[in-house]
């Protein structure tokens, strides 16, 4: 026994014991109105901090923590310890890694040419689209007008012209030597 009276930790323990005495009743009620003892709350505290309690337990623990400063303090310490794990572990990877992985992703999932074309079409400058759309019939007309005459048109042109007339034909003129059959 300390002659100067209880130390801080002893006072803390005594206060927790008193608190336990106050809350030593078993669980009272059921469902949403259930009240927990400190021991019951302590048993659920780890599940609660990990977010693994069911709806009833979660509200019961929350209600108990709101009314019991000792358990609330214990819960805060537990949460701080576990949050410390997260803080001590998370670490930013080097920026080059992000670029490398993104390149891999771009190779595998990069947009196809159809998607790119569609994206271009959907650009937030609608006048481009309107102008382009209005130009399409004009371009078709120009293309049709300037099209060079095809084979059919040429044939038609030939059939329309009169057959060539044979003039100055004289059957008595002897054939030239190169025209004679061998």
């Amino acid at each position: 026994m300390n002659p100067d009276g209880p130390t801080q930790s002893e006072r803390h323990e005594q206060s927790h014991e008193r608190s336990h005495e106050q809350h030593e009743h078993p669980e009272i009620g059921g469902g949403a109105s259930r009240r927990l003892s400190c021991a019951a709350c302590d048993a659920l505290m780890i599940d609660h901090v990990y977010g693994e309690t069911g709806d009833d337990d979660r509200s019961a623990v929350a209600r108990h923590l709101a009314t019991c400063p000792t358990c609330a303090l214990a819960f805060c310490r537990l949460k701080a310890d576990l949050d410390g794990v997260l803080e001590a572990t998370v670490m930013a990877p080097p920026g080059a890694l992000r670029r490398r992985i993104r390149e891999e992703m771009a190779k595998s999932f990069g947009p196809r040419w159809t998607t790119r074309l569609l994206d271009l079409w959907r650009r937030p400058v609608p006048v481009y689209g309107v102008v382009f759309a209005s130009l399409i019939p004009v371009m078709i007309w120009v293309a049709a007008t300037l099209r060079p005459p095809g084979e059919a048109a040429l044939r038609e042109e030939v059939s329309d012209s009169p057959p060539p007339a044979l003039t100055d034909y004289d059957s008595m003129v002897p054939l030239l030597p190169e025209d004679l059959p061998i």
Binding site: I46, L78, V85, T89, P93
Partner: protein, 186 residues
Amino acid sequence: MSADHNRCADEELVRILRGGDLSAFDVLYGRYDRRLYGYVRRLIKDPCTAEDLFQEIFVTVLRDRTYDPSRGRFAAWLFMVARNRCLAELRQRKTREGLADEVRARWQPTAALSPERAVGDASRVQAAMSALPDGQRQLILLKQIGELTYREIATLLGVAEGTIKSRLHAATVAFRRLLSEGSPET
């Protein structure tokens, strides 16, 4: 586009990415880069190997289509792949190096003297985590860093959910005891 993606669930982002929208990758990467890299670094101490593994895990899960969004949470799958890859790497390394590691470890300075160990809470937490047995450390990391549920961890380790719950309770109590006492390493 990216602002919309920020509200999307991970599984939806994976679908969008596979549809060809790379901005979904940026959001996914931003959500998991620090946690996953920290997790890998915690298991694989060598930074170069950890970087390679980090890249491999991300690419495996996203590009190689090992993950099917309709079959579960992305985080659970990502950390499952990460854990398996890290353990495989550790096994390979153990086989490769064997005795050489032990000899080197004897000649290395103690962890407490390492310049990486800053004075403060982070080093105390790291020391306490390092002092935990492998299984307990894995559980706490999967829960706190991976944010996996008891059920997901149980599926990953192939044990009952109740077993995971009791093991995680024991691990948490052991970790807090080491943290308050000061682990043997410090």
